[in-house]
Amino acid sequence: MSGNGASSSSLNMISGEDVVNNNLTALVVDDSPLLRLLHEIHLKKYGLKVQVAENGKVAVDLFHLGASFDLVLMDKEMPVMNGVEATKELRAMGVTSMIVGVTSKDGPGEQQAFMEAGLDYCFEKPLTPEIISILLEELNKHNKKD
């Protein structure tokens, strides 16, 4: 895993500890209804308010309409607008949400292109409870600094 300008040591393992937060919001962007449901339920278990979008364009449109999310889980391969395009678009709009790419096991070159679009992190799907816990801990730290 790698972060956008962050070293791997900045992601601290939280062992056996649930990070329950009722203030955080998340957007799950994936063309697979199965993955959308899976990630939605995972995040809700941690107390997040979750919305879903079936492709990058729907996600971008939500932000254009004024929605904001602390966390965006962005699938890479989607019809209409893929994750790379959507991430570039969101960063160009000035969106500062944590955007985490979720991919199938692609070659290193493909993940790199996704990271360069503006992701904070990129993981293989589906996200595990451990990875979600780590991301939420980072999000909480980030929000405390603001």
């Binding site: 697979s32 209804p33 199965l34 993955l35 449901l37 899976l38 339920i41 995972h42 809700k44 278990k45 391969e77 199938s104 799907k125 589906p126 595990t128 409870p129």
Partner: protein, 154 residues
């Protein structure tokens, strides 16, 4: 059959699915996400997997039946099927998809057709197993029992 017997039967049956490689640890994660606020989560996810897979297998059949096969399209469908089977823990389907993708890269029509048959076989087997498992669960709940959790250390 009394509830305790049904529960033991379910545990043994579920364990066999892991031992035979039909399911992997990802499926246990799904079960752990099910609770009072999402009591039908596993059934919902499994149903989505069935819907997803059947559509993708139809798309693959059509794509490989073309006079000029578009291997990029075929690969895209297999990629999706690999993703959803991996998410639900359907290990043998996932592994069949991995092999399938390598032959898509080679644009080997004979091998990809064989792979399609293999993926279909693995899918129908795991579908059958999952439906049996869910039926056993329903019988336990109908008899007033609870679904036992499967221990990882077997």
């Amino acid at each position: 059959m009394e509830v305790g017997q049904m529960q033991r039967r379910l545990v043994d049956y579920t364990k066999s699915l892991f031992m035979e490689g039909f399911l992997d640890a990802q499926f246990l994660q799904l079960q752990q996400l099910q609770d009072e606020s999402n009591p039908d989560f596993v059934v919902e996810v499994v149903s989505l997997f069935f819907d997803d897979s059947e559509k993708l297998l139809n798309d693959l059949t059509m794509a490989l039946d073309q006079p000029n096969v578009d291997f990029k399209k075929v690969d895209a469908h297999v990629h999706q099927l690999k993703g959803s089977s991996s998410s639900i823990g359907a290990q043998r389907v996932k592994n069949a998809c991995i092999a399938f993708r390598s032959f898509c890269e080679e644009q080997n029509i004979d091998a990809t057709l064989r792979c399609l048959q293999q993926v279909k076989q693995e899918y129908y087997l795991v579908k059958n197993k999952l439906e049996t498992m869910l039926r056993l669960e329903q019988q336990i709940v109908a008899a007033g029992g609870s679904i036992p959790m499967i221990e990882l250390g077997f």
